[in-house]
Amino acid sequence: MKRSTPATLVAVSLLIIAGLLVAGCTDTQETPGDAVTLNVFTAASLTGAFTDIGKAFEAENENIKVVFVFSGSQDLRTQIEHGADADIFVSANMKHMNTLKDSGFMVDDTVAQFVENCLIMVTPADNPAGIEGLADLAEPGVKLVIGTKDVPFGDYTRQLLDNMAADPEYGEEYRDAVMANVISEETAVTSVMPKLTLGEADASFVYKSDISKDDRDKLKRFEIPSKYITENPIYPIGVLAESTHKAEAESFIAFVRGPAGSDILTDYGFDPIPVEN
């Protein structure tokens, strides 16, 4: 190999630095034409619905561009607490929203509960473990995937199992046997679905809305008796106090809660909560 001279080294280094400076100075935040970019931090379970809502909203508001960050609510909260640049936070449960509200991250009067969801049990369509109901989950050898205790759908799953354990028909042994069948704990519902559609897992508890249109034929759904449900998951939405585009953010929230948004949400299996007057 040819040895490079100090002169070429300096030249290359200067080029790199110049490149970095140019990149640093270029404003990548705003797109030309005074368009406003809204960063919407959205719970992963709303991925499908909000992607559609975003497109519909952008079609009506040409000067506003909606950029979504989809992840677990807890993860999004951590990102916001550590300074992520968000305009709107959509959480899959009240806990994370309330924590942010209490620490002053939210514009309090914009925070509202806007949809309700419900937990269901799902198996692959061909149902390899032959599951016919909740009772079968305790059979030895059933491969179950659930959420970790810190993510909402995992928390609701544990709540459900606790309620069933309190019922003599199932009892504590049922809960223990089900928990012993867990092969993996996932931090987001998005990593549960492939395990079911690939047939690597036999069953899981997810939200009704988690089943995308594409997956509806690949999965079998089981409703959960309401007596074992303490409360249904409620999703809050709100504007961040640090947002520089509060008016646009509020118009996005109004759109989500308006007829167009509600139709899309219903289509994805959510139950929209009407705006209080």
């Binding site: 993860d75 491969k143 970790t148 810190d150 092969i183 993996s184 704990e185 931090t187 690939l198 047939g199």
Partner: protein, 257 residues
Amino acid sequence: MIFTLLVAVLLSLFLLFVTIPVASLFLRIAPEAFIRSLTEPVVLDALSLSLVTATISTVIVVIFGTPLALANARYDYPGRDIVDTLTDLPIVLPPAVAGIALLMAFGRRGVVGQYLDLFGIHIAFTTVAVILAQVFVASPFYIRQAKASFEAVDRLYEDAARTLGASPWTVAFRVTIPLAWGGLISGAILSFARALGEFGATIMFAGNYQGRTQTMPLAIYTTMQGDLDAAISLAIILVVISFAVIATVKVVTRRKF
């Protein structure tokens, strides 16, 4: 003069870039919180699972990798370049690719897994899957290093042993391997370190279950959702181990055997 100055500036900027994040880990947690985290089951389970699986996968890599490295260093056979390329592949493959590939092969509906399933053998989402993922991603680190150290052994010694009547086994175990020892050890340590840090392939292929498949990197990812102290403590442990690994490799490769 300008050159020296420029090098110094670039060097210190880069050093800061590397050290500040690592130092921040230590600054973001009180010593008491760190010690308290060390007694938490999630931390202890992850630590012991990681150490056990990384050790087993390193042993597997050494057992399978040493003959391969020796053969590729000493013999020219048709297709050697292909073997070399294949063994190096996991270094450049993103771990997510390794994860989905392993799942497609050994998952319950996988190319191989569907037949294993007939015998009641399940690999995906077990501790075995953790080890397979680690072997897959960590093996090149040992094999490359081992091959290089075998190539560095002067053939004169092997020829001398052979002319004195030594069998191929004796030549390998009494001459070649002892002469390549330093390189083999450092290769094994690097492979161990890579196995310890494995994340992407593990979470996709082995899942995430405390005490069974939740290794330290997975535990960091999971506890970050709730218990930041535990996540930082695990991260600190991994930093310390990684530092020890590099230091050991430096010492081992410098020493003459």
